[in-house]
């Protein structure tokens, strides 16, 4: 039986909505964080190993590529955290009304930007 599969739906049948866009972004940031967990494991191992391992890891993390990776990781983290809390509220039965769902979506985007900016201001100026 030929049933419609999920990627088929998006470009043909759906127009842009903040709610569906954020839902896709939740998955993308989730996948990004899962891939980024390699870096987390690597950092923990390098602290335990010490010596040249740790020096090399910190040189990499402080390089432009390392900073860029950490920046994207931080955006993904704050977004997935804020939107995850929004999802948990839905799971408990709150905030399903269309207007509320759109407003909480914009709130999540705003909070993501604020938290990311605050985190990087702290790293560079504290």
């Amino acid at each position: 039986m030929e049933r419609p599969l999920s990627p088929f739906m998006f470009p043909v049948w759906y127009r842009f909505q903040i709610t569906s866009a954020l839902s896709i972004l939740h998955r993308l940031t989730g996948i990004g964080l899962a891939v980024g967990s390699i870096l987390l494991a690597w950092w923990l191992i390098s602290v335990a190993a010490g010596g040249e391992w740790f020096e090399a890891t910190h040189r990499f993390l402080a390089s432009p590529i390392g900073i860029a990776l950490l920046f994207f990781w931080s955006v993904a983290f704050f977004y997935h955290l804020c939107n995850g809390i929004r999802h948990l509220a839905w799971d408990a039965g709150y905030g399903f009304e269309l207007g509320t769902a759109a407003r909480s979506g914009y709130a999540v985007l705003t909070l993501t930007i604020v938290l990311t900016v605050l985190a990087w201001l702290y790293v560079f100026f504290a």
């Binding site: 989730g30 923990l44 602290v47 999802h87 408990a92 039965g93």
Partner: protein, 138 residues
């Protein structure tokens, strides 16, 4: 969506009640326990991940001795181990649900599932070993 006196009645949070309704329509296999694991780890990860990220921000400009000393304290070691466990469990359930949506052949689904399980067990195991080494070596 039907209105209910208790909002959570409309979701699977009340899983004992919901399961009775679902059974009429057939088995959802392990869907419900995976759903619960994803939410439980999500709730645990709110404080755990915030603690980890705040600590890493504080450590960002420090050297290895500070990072090693941080991980050698029992409270830190415990919280970071729980963060690693909850984080990788959450990632595994999440990645599996993505595969279920986008991998359309049984063989590829099983292969992708095995591969991501192997990667998660390896990364989580290595992370826990690193934390234990720092904690016990102090």
């Amino acid at each position: 969506m039907t209105k209910s006196a208790v909002p959570s009645d409309t979701t699977a949070l009340r899983d004992e009640t919901m399961l009775r309704h679902v059974r009429q329509l057939g088995s959802a296999r392990d869907g419900l326990s995976e759903w619960r694991l994803q939410r439980l780890t999500a709730i645990a990860l709110i404080p755990l991940s915030l603690y980890f990220v705040a600590s890493v921000l504080w450590l960002a400009t420090s050297d290895r001795t500070t990072a090693a000393a941080w991980l050698s304290s029992p409270v830190t070691a415990l919280l970071v181990m729980l963060f690693v466990l909850a984080g990788f469990a959450h990632a595994l359930v999440g990645l599996r649900s993505v595969f279920l949506d986008y991998v359309h052949s049984r063989a590829r689904l099983v292969a992708a599932g095995l591969l991501v399980r192997a990667a998660v067990v390896l990364l989580a195991g290595a992370s826990l070993l690193a934390i234990l080494k720092l904690f016990l070596g102090h």
